[in-house]
């Protein structure tokens, strides 16, 4: 060992970047998982193009995966990278601005040739100078392609197959850089390639050679050590993406409620992984219909809800638009239905793989008629489990459609997740009709909660005709009586409003007694929390109120907000939640911090903005 020194770090950000075929997502996932197993907190963020395979080496095809690990609380995947792994000049160019001063760039020297520079639209043969990369950044050229080729000599693979393994060489090198033993990575690879022994052997060989390459290189670079996290509550953990957590929250809710889980779905980025997770769970009796379109996705679900399932449909913004008429039907028929919108950049097709919070007003208001629904928003990848569970619970107990908003950032990103047990989760009691309720009509409801009683085909004596036409409050027959219509409109609204009685109070995090309150909602929690915590640490007085329940709002919302002299609403849109709050909270001047770039906030930009406001 010829290391000159090791540096201990609280946290580190590593960004893997290459062609979308270079396996960067896998490399990043393996590195973050093995770090988590070694006791670090983790947060990851994949940033990939919507093109499946753009021309090799071009800017359009760059796919990135950022990992943030630390020995303390980690809320975000990090702003800038301490270490960038760049598989080609295009990857370097796309990420050049996202590297910290004093950071490290490891690059595949074999892919930094004249033709590669041209593909990435460099005008010179010195990309580092052309990009103005600071001298403080250390460059480590490693001929990853040729080293991988010599590593796999004798395996009899064609060159294309060989080069596909160069991501493992990079992973080995990173493991060395961070003093990570590679046996955990080998364990993951065994799980992945167990059925293809030659491929497994090849990947392990390349990984090991990558590690040893770092060891033997006599680099004068400092390697890093990140201690175990001591702030994480004790328990069993895994790392989970928001989309997977969402799917599992639904599974848990269905079992808790004693219902079959049904998903009607049409593939759409970035929401499809929820369908993948659920359709794999036939062992748990989950039924998934891959529908012919978004409308059939929701209407098959409405049929399943009518027939007595916990029914769900998942989509992203354009799909939510297509589903809006059917959501109105679910409102009118007062059926339990969970609608998950993994938000992406819009309008129209927009930026399918990028994140945004621009569907909020669509979720709240995007239907004809007075059409209230419950709207929730999850804050972090692991929290998607909780809010998918709560969305199901509210839908079943209050007989209403519930829209759960997540986004591409938390849907695809991962965080640590403390494994739950079903017994620990809150009880779910669907609002069934009771055998004693003879003569119960389709509109018969609990007069306090206004929740309609759920009678299901197959139940004798409770046959009824439901539908999208207005019904008489008493008899359930179709009716156009003016006063009756208003009564029904009010009942449906009251039902949704009543849900606020079951919501947790809005919490204030950070310096509660500060003058300035930051407000956020949904998937921005990590960045807002980091910014507020960082500022508190250096004595700046600022607090955060983050919303997961949006309609209805928590009951103490007005009280909390009115306590603060300065209130700034931060969101990844042009001010949709601020607009909503203005209609709900009187006498407050809501300042705004907005970003609509298809990217999450950076903690740095938030801190800068808040400091200026203070």
């Amino acid at each position: 060992m010829d290391k000159t020194k090791t540096t201990e770090l609280d946290n580190v950000v590593v960004r893997f970047s290459g062609d979308s075929g270079d396996g960067m997502q896998l490399t990043g996932t393996l590195f973050s998982n093995l770090s988590a197993i070694l006791g670090n907190e983790i947060s990851t963020f994949p940033d990939f193009p919507s093109e499946i395979r753009a021309p090799q080496g071009t800017l359009g095809g760059v796919s990135g995966f950022q990992v943030h690990l630390g020995s303390g609380k980690i809320y975000t995947p990090g702003d800038e990278a301490d270490v960038l792994v760049a598989m080609n000049p295009a990857a370097l160019k796309v990420n050049a601005k996202a590297i910290k001063n004093g950071g490290v760039i490891i690059y595949d020297a074999d892919s930094f040739e004249k033709s590669d520079f041209e593909k990435a639209a460099f005008t010179s043969e010195n990309p580092f100078e052309e990009l103005g990369i600071s001298d403080s950044i250390q460059l480590i050229p490693a001929p990853l392609s040729s080293l991988t080729q010599s590593s796999l000599e004798g395996f009899g693979f064609d060159n294309k197959t060989v080069l596909r393994s160069k991501n493992m060489f990079a992973l080995g090198l990173i493991c060395w850089l961070f003093n990570r033993p590679i046996n955990q990575a080998i364990h993951f690879l065994t799980n992945k390639f167990g059925k293809k022994p030659t491929l497994l052997q090849a990947n392990v060989k390349v990984l090991t050679d990558g590690f040893n390459y770092g060891n033997n290189l006599h680099l004068t670079i400092s390697t890093f050590v990140i201690d175990k996290s001591h702030e994480t509550p004790k328990g069993k953990y895994t790392s989970i993406s928001g989309n997977k957590a969402t799917a599992w929250g639904l599974i848990a809710a269905a079992q808790k409620a004693g219902l079959q889980l049904f998903l009607g779905s049409y593939p759409i980025t970035p929401a499809t992984d929820i369908m993948h997770e659920l359709t794999a769970r036939k062992d748990m009796g989950v039924k998934v219909v891959q529908a012919e379109d978004e409308i059939a996705g929701i209407t098959t679900s409405i049929g399943a809800a009518f027939a007595g399932s916990l029914a769900v449909t998942n989509t992203s913004g354009p799909g939510l638009a297509l589903k809006s008429e059917a959501i109105g039907l679910a409102v009118m028929a007062e059926l339990p239905l969970v609608i998950i919108d993994v938000m992406r950049g819009g309008p129209s097709t927009g930026m399918p793989t990028k994140t945004e919070q621009t569907d909020l007003l669509q979720a709240l208001y995007g239907r004809n008629g007075e059409s209230p629904v419950v709207v929730l928003a999850a804050g972090t990848p692991d929290c998607c489990f909780h809010y998918a569970y709560m969305a199901s619970k509210i839908a079943l107990e209050h007989m209403t459609p519930v829209i759960l908003l997540t986004d591409a950032f938390i849907g695809n990103g991962t965080s640590l997740w403390k494994l739950p047990k079903l017994a620990e989760l809150p009880i779910i009691k669907p609002n069934y009709v009771k055998p004693s309720m003879e003569g119960c009509k389709v509109t018969s409801r609990d007069e306090v909660s206004k929740a309609r009683y759920w009678s299901i085909p197959g139940m004798e004596g409770f046959g009824h005709r439901n539908g999208g036409l207005e019904k008489d409050y008493e008899t359930g027959c179709i009716a156009t009586d003016p006063l009756n219509h208003e009564k029904m409109v009010n009942a449906r609204q009251a039902k949704v409003d009543y849900v606020s009685n079951f919501l947790p109070e809005l919490k204030v995090e950070g310096d509660e007694t500060a003058d300035m309150l930051v407000i956020g909602w949904g998937g921005t929690h990590g960045h807002l929390m980091s910014a507020v915590m960082n500022m508190n640490k250096i004595g700046k007085r600022i607090a955060l109120a983050h919303f997961n329940y949006i309609n209805p709002l928590p009951k103490n919302t007005i009280d909390v907000i009115q306590r603060y002299k300065k209130v700034v609403v931060c969101e990844l849109n042009s001010g949709q939640f601020a607009t909503f709050l203005r209609s709900k909270v009187p006498g407050v001047e809501f300042l705004q911090y907005n970003k609509v770039q298809g990217q999450p906030f950076t903690v740095a930009e938030l801190e800068a903005d808040f400091s200026e406001l203070m």
Binding site: K234, Y237, I302, G303, F306, S309, E325, P457, H464, R465
Partner: protein, 350 residues
Amino acid sequence: MNRNTKNYFQIMETTKTLQYTVKDFKSDQYVRWCPGCGDHAVLNSLQKVMAELGGAPHNTVVISGIGCSSRLPYYISSYGFHTIHGRGAAVATGVKVANPELSVWQITGDGDCLAIGGNHFIHSVRRNVDLNVLLFNNQIYGLTKGQYSPTTKKGFVTKSSPFGTVERPFRPAELTFGARGTFFARLLDVDLKTAQLCMTAAAKHKGTSVVECLVNCVIFNDGAHGWLAQKENRAERIIVLEHGKPMIFGKNRDKGLVLDGFNLKVVTIGEGGMTESDVLVHNATCEDSTLHMKLAIMEGPDMPIAMGVIRAVEEETYNAAVEAQIAEVQAKSKVKTFDDLIDTCEQWDM
């Protein structure tokens, strides 16, 4: 070639103890269709068939979209759902997949099914979901007061085509066969016997049973099927197809269908040496739909209109395949509960 020799027409002959009567399927709602509308007759036939089939009203679900015919669920004393325009097939698919034990009927019209709901229609047929679809075809939009529909004949004058439509109409049978449909029948509102025969066969068929119901719109398209509807003409203009029986029609039962090259031709038995044995015998269960298509698209005045069960082929239904796959996976998997699922995670202590 024939995987199924089941004769759908024997069903009517089997006697069974009737557990339910027509009254059990009549709701307390006043039927609001126009007097003289063909939908009344179809409703009556349906209630009769439901009672005869013997399934309980509470295990019966009637789903509809939007349009005059889609009001039908209100008039049946079962579980009913009057959904949104065009989406009945998808809602019905959800109901059947969620609970395959239910008998699911889908009520739709030529606009609801073939215009706004065309996509859902072809896909439910393609999947072969076990639904009984009654497609009320009056060749007009009634509820919106008289615009042309996807089945309106070219040139027909309606409120939205004051100079005659320039559009080519769909023929529902072609769409059904194009979507690889396993069942297609056709009935005429006023011919109660054939109507009940078709509906019974549709109910018994496992798969998407498409029953085209030719109904008269007395207000906006009166007499669209008039040349068939007049009782005195029916024998000459209609052929009621019966599986396993020769394709004979006519007041004197002297006309028959034969193949002439690739086409069908009407012949008179006893003329030109034609005997009954020269006439084609109907095989509704033939997997190849070519002849079914030829029969279904026959049009007057040279050819009779085919009624009855034109096609009824057994294939696995979507809902049964879903159940079978779940059972197969469940038999192999160790994951039975949510806690089992959690155990499958790569997990570690912190």
